[in-house]
Point group: C2
Chain length 498, copies 2
């Protein structure tokens, strides 16, 4: 191994270990920490973050990485990928002026507070000045990061490296154009789905037992993971050997916890599927948020909400909930967990309408950064789009424009990764289900190892070796396209809603 | 505030925050971490530890502390104490040659492995070379740390700052001389204590509920603490607002968990009683292991195993264990949890014989460091002392000389802090019970706030402002003496064993 490479990546791995420690205390904060500890914990997190930043942005690291990037240095293709990706991270970390970093942190924290209060009172005007300030800062950030096309591209790149509006726009438009009529047809359908049998009481302990069983069936390694409770479900990958997911239990809507765990298990399988050999370097990291989301949506929706999976799980559920599920057939359960109904709130939306929520957020945030629309007009724009795409109108801003925390925290460019996740997942599935023989029969028997193996080999295992776009092409033979997802939805919901 | 002081202690507080983060991941390792995560966790801990060490031992910190120690610098008495104590820590951290630090870590880890194997096979000879090596290193360490009297003093000082063998020897001798006849008299007593009713099945869930109730009654702030399970019970003080204790449950000996939690709750109250204002500086830290242990032993033994406390708790226990405790009277329970019986294993020993276990370890480790005895003679010496002090002889080295992990890890000078804890606790209690009116009546009603308040005001609250010796003198009006503890035992066990 090249001596300089070893020296450089010894430091990078140490910094990653600090990042992992920071991950542990972040997880602890959401799941275990006593309430009064918040103040001291904020201190611990911020000191750790500033040390990680200080170490990673040291000029010495920059010099080593630049030297290693030069032609004539003998490196393996994997080492080259590590140098390339680490240099990208390094440039992103060092290009922002200190003042901007501080302003983003300060305004982000204050805007977050303002948003919480504004949402409570459904008072968009109280939040608007903060959002305006944040948009200004994000434009500055985009400028500092640099971009070729639109400013928004620089922000999008932070979550989905390599993705641009030029590439995304036609895809999003295709999704919108495809979904609006599907959603409309479903609204018009006379097919009535009964899900009342799932709205009875399901004890939390049994729900937790079911969730653990689901994790196990899906194939999350129990000796390298945990399942806990938190206010907002998440997956925290500390190392491939230490992946922690959380869920929350709704005593009167059991599918929330079950499918929440299926979702987070998809994330967990990605983290556990990364190569431990490359732990602490880009080759041992997930490639993008969109690809990560594709794994969670694949397990939650494509596998989890499929009829064969429900057929496999239902007898297991009946062991835990014999009264509640008495007489329920697989088809009943399947239809109940695939009900499509336009809703005001994104996080409660079904597979079909969810993406329309994303499409409108993408359109709005892109226009905001470009300066094509003004913050003060947002509630009006929001409500118009809701009417147009989903056929409903929020009764106030709390259930409209104020529902998500993302913009208050400065997460512009994040929303599209949710949509990309859905598109990627359907495209992966189209290929995967062609290669794994009798996939429905296997799922119906709980034999999910071939699915896991395909995902590990074609996706997880590569870390950040290829860009998301390249990874999709290598795995499926085709560039990203909306077609697979739209086909998947048409077939599935055409059947359910006739 | 002095500008240099502020600059210096801003850094010290940042380092403390890193120490706290390290505390969280250490706690996680013992309680929550998935088994396969051990390798990655070791990496995280060691990187964090080396950064803490590197930051704390920077020459700049030394320069600032030395400047702040000079006459003529205007500091409050609290600031002076912080400078004094931090400089002591700094000197301890910087005086060891790097080679020695590395050797101690290496031999400590290998000796630990060797000890585990040797204990399994009861093969002292396999462990002896490692112990010999460790003793050599500890002598070197003592030399580097510096001492006036015996080399052992330097090691003792690491756990009980300011304590010396010159001060400790006569006290230990008094304890030994006092305890041996008490233990003998109890062995000879015809009084038979029945504890069979505690050796039935106690479901773990109810034990845990009892333990939580006990924590609450003792006054551990539930919003600033946690109770979890671990292989070895411990208390982890991350901040006064974040104190975590653990216990283990023995389904057939309920007092183990209950009194384990009483013990750790004593530690927790000390940590919660530290002044948050001084968090991250010595004024917000516990003064010594001995004083810490005094708090745990006071709550576990002096309060927890007292008749009034049992009178208060028994009706509560009967609510959880109505069958198991049917017909049991407070006096029965009290006698059962105060049974004295010489045992081979220190950690299973009762209040009386426990200290004889410590006395012999103290005598042995002191002689080892002084070179007065040889490692190869240890089993013989051990067994002779067991016979002399406790009247029993181990049937092999596993239950004799090989039972504790301390020496393998290099913890020489640690054992006496257990004994000191008992002595301090009785001396504090003698004073406290004179000042709190009708203390037994209050305990019998579960009114423990006055006890907590006394301890907080006289002990917790002071952090490291005074040395342990000075703290004892200020709190009790007298220097440390064995008399209080011996009196306490004579009265209590004279009554129980007639």
């Amino acid at each position: 191994m090249n001596k300089l490479y070893r020296e450089c990546f010894d430091v990078i791995r140490d910094i990653s270990a600090l990042g992992a420690a920071s991950g542990v205390i972040g997880w602890d904060q959401e799941t275990m920490m006593p309430p009064k500890a918040a103040g001291a914990r904020a201190e611990q997190s911020s000191v750790l973050a500033s040390i990680i930043h200080e170490k990673f942005t040291s000029p010495k690291i920059g010099r080593m990485l630049r030297k290693l990037s030069k032609d004539g240095i003998k490196l393996s293709s994997i080492e080259k990928a590590n140098v390339r990706e680490t240099l990208i991270d390094y440039n992103k970390s060092t290009c922002l002026p200190k003042d901007l970093v501080r302003d983003l942190a300060r305004v982000g924290s204050l805007a977050q507070d303002a948003w919480i209060k504004a949402r409570k009172k459904s008072d968009f005007k109280a939040f608007a000045p903060w959002l305006k300030e944040m948009v200004k800062l994000k434009r500055k950030q985009a400028k500092a990061l640099g971009y070729k096309g639109e400013a928004y591209d620089a922000l999008l790149d932070d979550y989905e490296p390599g993705m641009t509006t030029a590439e995304l726009d036609p895809i999003v438009e295709e999704v919108r154009a495809g979904l609006v009529p599907i959603a409309k047809a479903i609204r018009a359908s006379k097919e009535k789905i009964n899900s009342s049998f799932l709205k009875v009481s399901f004890p939390e302990d049994s729900q937790e037992a079911l969730c653990r069983e689901a994790m196990n069936i899906v194939g999350v390694d129990a000796d390298a993971s945990r399942l806990d409770r938190s206010a907002h479900p998440f997956c925290c990958g500390i190392a491939p050997t230490d992946v922690r997911i959380t869920t929350r239990y709704n005593a009167r809507w059991m599918p929330q916890a079950l499918y929440g765990v299926m979702h987070e298990s998809g994330h967990a399988l990605y983290e556990q599927g990364l190569d431990m050999k490359y732990y602490g370097t880009p080759m041992g990291e997930a490639v993008s948020l969109g690809i990560h989301e594709s794994q969670s949506r694949l397990w939650e929706n494509i596998v989890g909400r499929s009829l064969p999976f429900v057929q496999f799980m239902l007898p297991r559920m009946k062991k835990l909930f014999s009264n509640q599920l008495k007489g329920v057939k697989a088809k009943d359960f399947y239809r109940a967990v695939n009900t499509v109904k336009p809703s005001m709130i994104r996080v409660e939306a079904d597979e079909v309408t969810y993406n329309l929520h994303i499409v409108m957020r993408y359109e709005i945030e892109k226009a905001l950064i470009a300066g094509d629309i003004e913050v003060r007009d947002l509630p009006k724009i929001w409500n118009l789009k809701m009417k147009e795409y989903l056929g409903i109108t929020p009764k106030n801003d709390a259930e409209g424009i104020l529902q998500d925390t993302h913009w208050a925290s400065g997460l512009f460019g994040y929303f599209p990764t949710y949509l990309l996740g859905n598109l990627y997942s359907a495209q992966f599935w189209a290929k995967l289900s062609g290669e794994v023989k009798n996939i429905e029969g296997k799922i119906a028997k709980g034999e999910l190892a071939p699915i896991r193996a395909w995902l590990k080999k074609n996706i997880h295992h590569h870390g950040r070796r290829y860009s998301a776009a390249e990874l999709v092409k290598r795995a499926t033979g085709k560039p990203l396209a909306a077609k697979f997802f739209l086909d998947y939805l048409s077939t599935k919901y055409g059947d359910i809603y006739k």
